[in-house]
Structures are given as C-alpha cells and as structure tokens.
Subunit: 208 residues, 2 copies
C-alpha cells in the first residue's frame, strides 16, 4: 500500500509527488513511461514507480494529467476507483484559442470525472497552483502557497489537506464540488495572465 498514487509524471505530477513525500507520505508514481515515473520517484524517499495499468496502491489518487488524457486513464482504472479519493487537477482550456474552456459552461472537469467514476470520492485541487509554487512553497517570493480543495466528501478533503499541510503548504477547503467550476475559471484566468506576462509561472494568485 501507498498513501497516495500520482498518475502522471509531468511538472505537476512531480511537484505533487515531491510535496507528498516531503510530508512523509509513501508515494506511488505511475506514468505511461516507466522511465518518466522513475525519474520522479527515484529522487523521493519512500516512492515507487510504475506504468499506467499497474494496480493502484494509494488510497488517494491524483490524476496529474492534462484534461484530454483523463478519460482514457479513468477507463483503464474504473473498476479500481470505488471508494478511492480521486483528485482532479486539470484546467480544461481550449489551448488552440486560449479563450474558453472545453467543458460545458455549467459543468466542470471535476463534475465530468465524478460522473464517470461515481463510486469515487472526487476532489478538485491543485489546479490554481502553478507547479513552481508547489515546489518552492511560495507564490512569488514571499506569499505562502495555498492549495484550494473543493469536494463533497469532508473526510476526503481532510485526508488530502493532511498531506498538503504535512508537506508544508496551506490547504483551504473551498467548498463543495460545485466550486470546481469557479476554481477552473480561476485557473483559466491565471493561465491567461501568465501567458501574457501579467504574472509569472512562479506566482499567480495568492490567497491572503
């Protein structure tokens, strides 16, 4: 068993794995490529690496994937996610236009995921944090990084918050899973501001 499974070994997956390991959690990192997963897990105490398709070892499963890659991974793991805490970190932007989200206006990526795996306890988290702010613990030079966590299952939110705070960051309960819509709007706005250099990729919005 592991405390947390991170599916995805990109910048966000690596930062979340590092945060969890820093707090003393045992971490399983799964990626399409074992090499990529090993590159993340190899530098962390108590972390293991594997490929997508391996059995999920963690009670908390972070989908550290771009939005278009989520459906396939959910399909591969649907039967293993009942009762698990599943964490959606996506910002479902239309990157061809940078002018809208690809989910329906009254929906959210998190709501779609919750509908796809109804037995899972789905949370929205980390989508308003740039990877650099998770790694350094600060937004810009001096403001503590806050991880907003939205979801309908209080115990699930507390479990993720415990990992975040053990890793040295602040966790804030952002309300029900319906607030994922606003969190995705915030993530979207923040990405457009960074892309236009109105903020930096190591900064963004800090909750004061």
């Amino acid at each position: 068993m592991a405390d947390i499974t991170i599916i995805g070994a990109g910048n966000m997956g690596g930062a979340i794995a590092g945060l969890a390991a820093a707090g003393g959690s045992s971490v399983q990192v799964l990626a399409r490529s074992l090499e990529a997963a090993s590159a993340v897990a190899g530098s962390l105490e108590g972390a293991s690496a594997g490929t997508v398709g391996d059995a999920i070892a963690g009670e908390i499963v972070v989908l550290a994937l771009p939005y278009p890659a989520v459906a396939e991974v959910l399909g591969a793991y649907a039967d293993q996610l009942d009762g698990k805490v599943v964490v959606d970190i996506t910002n479902p932007l239309d990157f061809s236009t940078f002018d809208s989200l690809v989910v329906a206006p009254d929906a959210s990526a998190a709501a779609e995921i919750a509908a796809a795996v109804p037995g899972a306890r789905v949370l929205k988290a980390f989508n308003t944090n740039f990877a650099g702010t998770l790694a350094t613990g600060s937004v810009g030079e001096a403001q503590p990084t806050t991880v907003l966590i939205a979801g309908d299952d209080t115990a699930a939110k507390e479990a993720l918050a415990a990992i975040v705070t053990a890793g040295g960051l602040r966790a804030v309960d952002a309300g029900s899973l319906r607030r994922a819509r606003e969190a995705e709007a915030l993530g979207f706005l923040q990405l457009t501001l960074a892309a236009q250099e109105k903020t930096s990729w190591g900064a963004g919005f800090a909750l004061i």
Copy 2:
C-alpha cells in the same frame, strides 16, 4: 464635466470615488439619496454629489451597484451612455443560496450590460477587489491591490487603468470582455471564502 461618475454610494462606490479623487480625477457621485451621495463626495477634493436621474457628467461611468439594481439604472440612463466607458463591478451571486450566480452559465453580468447598452464601451473591473483593499491599497497587510480590467475596447481599458494607477493601485488588463465570466467566478469564490472566514474582507486573492 467630470472625469468619472460613480453611481452608488455604498462601500464600493465610496472606495472607488476615493481612489479616483486621490489620483486627481474630478468625481461625480450619484445615489438614490442625495444625503448618501453627499456623504461620499463631501470628503473628497473636486467631487460633486447628485441623485440618480441627474445628467451624467463623467466620461467614465462606474455602476457601483448591487447586480439587481443595475437594470433600473441602465433604463434611466440608456440614452446618455452611448460612447461612455461603463464599468460593471458586480458579483451577481444568488445570495439566498451562496451557491451559484444568477446569470446564465455561459454569460456574465458584464455581457448582459453590454447587450443592454450596445453603444457603451463596457468594462468589467473592481469585482475581484474587496472595498477595504481599494481604500488601503493592500490585500492583507502587505500585498499591493491589483484591479483587474476586462473589456473589448483598449482605449477604454487604458482610461480606467490611468485613474486606478493615478490613485496608487496597480491595474492589470485581464483580456477581452469574455474574461468577465472568469472574473465573476473569481469574485464569487472569493466572497464564499470570506464568508467562511478562509480569508478576510480586507484580503482575498492578490495577484503576485
């Protein structure tokens, strides 16, 4: 003539009037009650007070009103708003539930206002700033207040930004008026966090 007309003499109207006056703008404050307008204008250099229905003197018109009050004021002034810069500051929450906005999911209050007064140059601004952060110039103790300005008319955005920066705050171009939707989501999320004491009414999200 005045540089800017503020319609509404509540906390936000007072803070925006104070900001504009601090930057040297001439300010007209209009409210339902002359007493309320005078209470704001009386303490500001170069400010005049009047009631809703008086002729608009400013080139920039800030609707410092709660969302439900906007339609009536637009109706009263529709013929005077052609060519004006009209600034929407609303957060159109359903305050009975605190769980959704009252505008359509694919719309925004700003888009509705732009449709209602097609001759005006509509901007979304100030809705992500608590009044206290406009008055003090800081989010919490130390982070400079940033006013996000979204709109389709670059010159209009620049005119409002000039007033904001003259008053000592930072102004950031947040993109087209389509970004009002995300700004309203951010304002909504921020209000729910303050109502739950996850942040304070003198703080919120700071753009770092």
